[in-house]
């Protein structure tokens, strides 16, 4: 054995013991962060649950920002000839609203759930790269704040969220708003890429023993598809934004027709990213609904392989439909025909999902809890949005609808009625798991009904307005055009949505106060649910699983609780209390906190400001980034005081972590633990001596 150990390929000693404890202070700059409570524990955390919660809080804050912008739009349009916003300000408000809602609300809120739930659902103790996880959060947040700071530094972007050329060029948009758009999105794109790589690897590599791909919960599956889409879609928008930046700041003319460039290239690049982006936004909510509906129908998800397969199909086909956003651009009949057909085809897997949700509910014992209501809301509202989407697939109809409020109605039905409703349901569903208490059920129902009614009042009339010919992105209309009544209705609806969000905030606040006064733990499994995250105590302990579960079938947790009698009827075979985890872990070592991700992320917006205003500003930014990278590399991934907790996938669950005690890096920890696991040795003997 000793010979083999000596030739182990993954590790090389240079005279020192490779697993000997390192000095705890990396480069002597920071003391290794130790705080477990207070704000420091959040700033330096690498815990996927805390990162998920921070994603959630920040994206909810931006939901309010984007919501205020939406209310401004609706106020401006409430009556004809309104003077509340100037045309220029209106352009900025709707652009910032769109970009905020897409990149700072829907995507990060999905990230919040993905970060929190994927490791729990696949039975892991953390994501594959905990520090990179923190990095993606901080980079995204830095980019989002950078982007929104444009309000204070000369005005926001004003080109619409897809920011078409040539309007985006310096000639027509001389201000800095578009620069903030380009660089802000580049920064956030870096964060998303990091996160996508991380979660892709997590799903592929960190699954508990027995958790094959086709035993993963649908939520994890849909998010996996989303991460893969992000991996391939983000570089395309990166190219577009780089070219735009080169155009605006370095005198190139990629999108300037007067100098031989082609504005059309922007449209293509943007939508090659932009259409997968649509599925990136909606698939996580589909995943949540696919978790919630089976639980409250007390039936397994109908057609699991089709559910997964249709998600993958959507992921693939989403790449072949982008030009249906461009039917009005004159790209030629053949292209229009091809993209029209492919767009009709993509309705098929989406329809499969909707039918499967309904088939899941069919014959089930449905409990109309708040999460279930939101899920049913999604099924209904998304279907409306999907159907109006099919009408766009027909190019002749679409050329009539392009740039009208009909389009606005459509994409709000799929993104608000699809993504946001689903995620609201997800919040109510997983809240007890995240925070250890329920959100108020009665208040939650008020929230749901207000939101549903407000949503339909706001966006339903836009179908009519659009077909009547009201153009989007126009800051006002006259009273003779006949748009007045429905616009007023729509504005009233928008304020009802705002009210529903206030009800939600109140719900969060009051349910927390009630919990403080009289703490009642909801228990590990408050909903009698199906997937692994409900096997562990609520709120989730820091180490997730005291013992990594061994998975035998899909809906593992459910099958541990229920079986079938000889007549095929559902019978309970074990009490929930006996199935859920109760043992305290003996030695679980968690990834150690680190400041470096934050340092690295702080450099990014400085570089951005430098590019826009004065290159000298970029100097401290670059210094921070370089310091961040090298500080990070030189810092051992795990504190010498503790090993990793997430890499003990070997077959001996009894002593997963004692073997990793002194492992300085993830891969080495894996190496040591595995070799120790196979030889039965402990950490001190597991190295190459």
């Amino acid at each position: 054995m000793a010979i083999i150990e000596d030739q182990r390929p993954l590790e090389l000693t240079t005279g020192h013991d490779p697993v000997a404890p390192e000095a705890p202070s990396p480069l002597g700059v920071f003391a290794r962060p130790k705080a477990n409570t207070g704000w420091r524990s959040w700033v330096n955390t690498v815990d996927h649950k805390k990162i998920g919660i921070m994603y959630g809080v920040a994206s909810f804050f931006f939901l309010l920002v984007g919501g205020v912008e939406a209310l401004l739009i609706r106020l401006q349009l409430s009556v004809p000839g309104n003077q509340l916003l100037s045309a220029d300000l209106y352009n900025q408000v709707f652009t910032m609203h769109g970009v905020t809602m897409v990149f700072m609300v829907i995507m990060p809120m999905a990230s919040a759930f993905a970060n929190y739930l994927i490791p729990l659902q696949i039975g892991a103790r953390d994501v594959s790269f905990p520090r990179m996880n923190a990095l993606s959060l901080w980079i995204w947040l830095a980019g989002a704040i950078f982007f929104n700071s444009s309000w204070l530094l000369g005005g926001g972007a004003n080109g619409g969220w897809f920011n078409y050329a040539p309007n985006a060029g310096v000639t027509f948009s001389p201000g800095t708003g578009i620069d903030f758009y380009a660089i802000g999105l580049l920064i956030m794109g870096i964060g998303s890429t990091v996160s996508a790589v991380n979660l892709t690897v997590t799903v592929l590599n960190m699954r508990a023993p027995g958790m094959t791909l086709m035993k993963m919960p649908v939520f994890t599956w849909m998010n996996f598809v989303v991460q893969v889409l992000l991996v391939f879609a983000l570089p395309v928008i990166t190219v577009a934004l780089l070219l735009l930046t080169l155009d605006r700041m370095f005198g190139a003319a990629f999108f300037d027709a007067s100098k031989g460039g082609d504005p059309f290239l922007w449209e293509h690049l943007f939508w090659i990213f932009g259409h997968p982006e649509v599925y990136i936004m909606v698939l996580p909510a589909f995943g949540m609904v696919s978790e919630i509906i089976p639980v409250f129908s007390r039936k397994p998800i109908f057609g699991y392989p089709f559910m997964v397969g249709s998600g993958i199909a959507i992921g693939f086909m989403g790449w072949g439909v982008w030009a249906h956003h461009m039917f009005a651009s004159g790209m030629g009949q053949l292209s229009v025909l091809a993209f029209s057909l492919s767009t009709l085809f993509i309705a098929v897997p989406t329809g499969v999902k909707i039918l499967n949700w309904m088939a899941t509910m069919y014959g089930g014992r449905i409990k109309f809890t708040v999460p279930m209501l939101f899920s049913i809301g999604l099924v209904g509202m998304f279907t409306i949005g999907g159907l109006s989407g099919v009408t766009h697939a027909f190019a002749p109809a679409d050329t009539q609808q392009t740039d009208t409020y009909y389009i606005v109605a459509h994409f709000h039905y799929v993104l608000f009625g699809g993504a946001l409703l689903g995620m609201m349901g997800g919040l109510y569903f997983w809240w007890p798991k995240m925070f250890g208490h329920f959100l108020g059920e009665r208040t939650g129902k008020w929230h749901f009904w207000l939101m549903l009614v407000g949503f339909n009042l706001t966006f339903g009339p836009m179908h009519i307005l659009g077909l009547q010919g009201m153009m989007r992105r126009t800051f006002t209309y006259t009273s003779v055009q006949g748009f007045s009544m429905w616009n007023l209705v729509s504005t009233i609806g928008a304020f009802i949505i705002a009210l529903s969000l206030l009800v939600f905030i109140g719900n969060v606040f009051f349910s927390y106060r009630k919990h403080r006064k009289n703490p009642v733990n909801p228990g590990a499994d408050p909903w009698d649910a199906r997937s692994l995250e409900w096997m562990i105590p609520s709120p989730t302990p820091e180490y997730n699983f005291a013992e990594i579960p061994v998975v035998e079938e899909f809906d593992e947790f459910w099958h541990r609780k229920y079986g079938h009698d000889e007549n095929g009827r559902l019978v309970r075979i074990a009490k929930t209390e006996d199935v859920v985890e109760s043992s305290d872990p003996v030695t679980v070592h968690l990834p150690s906190p680190s400041y470096w991700p934050l340092v690295l992320a702080l450099g990014m917006p400085l570089v951005g400001y430098g590019l826009i205003f004065n290159l000298w500003w970029a100097v401290p930014g670059v210094i921070l980034i370089v310091a961040g990278v090298y500080g990070w590399v030189m810092e051992p991934a795990t504190d010498p005081d503790g090993g990793h907790g997430h890499d003990d996938h070997h077959d001996e669950p009894d002593e997963p972590d004692a073997t990793e005690l002194a492992a300085p890096e993830t891969a080495e920890a894996e190496l040591v633990s595995a070799s120790a696991g196979s030889t039965g040795a402990t950490a001190g003997e597991g190295d190459s001596q």
Binding site: I3, I4, D6, Q7, R8, P9, L10, E11, L12, T13, T14, H16, P18, S128, F129, T193, A196, V197, V201, L204, N205, M206, R207, V231, F232, A233, P235, V236, T238, V239, A240, L242, L243, L246, F250, G251, A252, A253, F254, S258, K259, G260, G261, D262, L265, Y630, V633, D647, H649, H650, E665, T666, A667, E668, E670, L671, A674, S675, G677, S678
Partner: protein, 210 residues
């Protein structure tokens, strides 16, 4: 090979991976693969941009007024040489990874240094080429869209090479420290080979195809 050697070889091939990750590939390596997949689309977008613009000689001139196609100024023999240098750096990289797996630190340092030097030579060639275009041929970044697309594409690749050289030198520095992980060298090697392969594509598509 004797039975004993084969046995130990087998243990090296898949020593621990079966137990550590679900796929058997380490997180770091799989992460690099996924990132490189993403990078493919980055270069794909840039190469497409160049292909769209390369035959727009800019009847409408840009700022500096040179309307010539950038391809008219290519010095194929020179670029072939620098391409060959970059390709050879892949060979030295492979030797470096091989050295670290065998535990041969001296060779590892030798091959890391040679890979970095070859990469730097390639960069030098690119700087020379750019300077030549700008100074002698009066073809700058803003001259016309074909030139802009050319500089953006090859510049992006150049940035990747710079990052690669920095990583190689960092590896070299780390190898003088207390320890180095063969896995890390291998992951850097993956990146380096990717950058090389992309250059093969760029060289073929941009320089060789008329």
């Amino acid at each position: 090979m004797s039975g004993l050697a084969y046995e130990s070889l087998e243990d090296i091939e898949f020593p621990d991976d079966i137990h550590t990750t679900s796929t058997g590939i380490s997180n770091e390596k799989l992460g690099m693969w996924v990132y490189l997949a993403s990078d493919c689309l980055l270069f794909g977008g840039m190469i497409s941009t160049y292909l769209i613009y390369k035959n727009r000689p800019g009847e409408i001139a840009g700022l500096s007024g040179n309307t010539d196609k950038v391809s008219e100024y290519f010095d194929i023999p020179f670029t072939s040489m620098t391409s060959f240098i970059l390709l050879m750096s892949s060979l030295t990289m492979v030797l470096g990874v091989n050295a670290v797996i065998r535990g041969d630190l001296t060779r590892l340092r030798l091959w890391l240094t040679s890979t970095a030097v070859l990469g730097a030579l390639f960069l030098g060639g690119q700087i020379y080429e750019f300077t030549n275009f700008v100074v002698n041929d009066d073809l700058g970044f803003t001259s016309n869209v074909a030139a802009s697309a050319f500089y953006a594409l090859t510049g992006l690749h150049g940035v990747h090479v710079v990052v690669g050289v920095i990583m190689l030198l960092s590896m070299l520095a780390i190898s003088f420290g207390t320890r180095i992980r063969a896995e890390a060298v291998e992951v850097v090697g993956l990146y380096w080979h990717f950058v090389d392969i992309v250059w093969v594509l760029i060289f073929t598509i941009v320089y060789l195809i008329p």
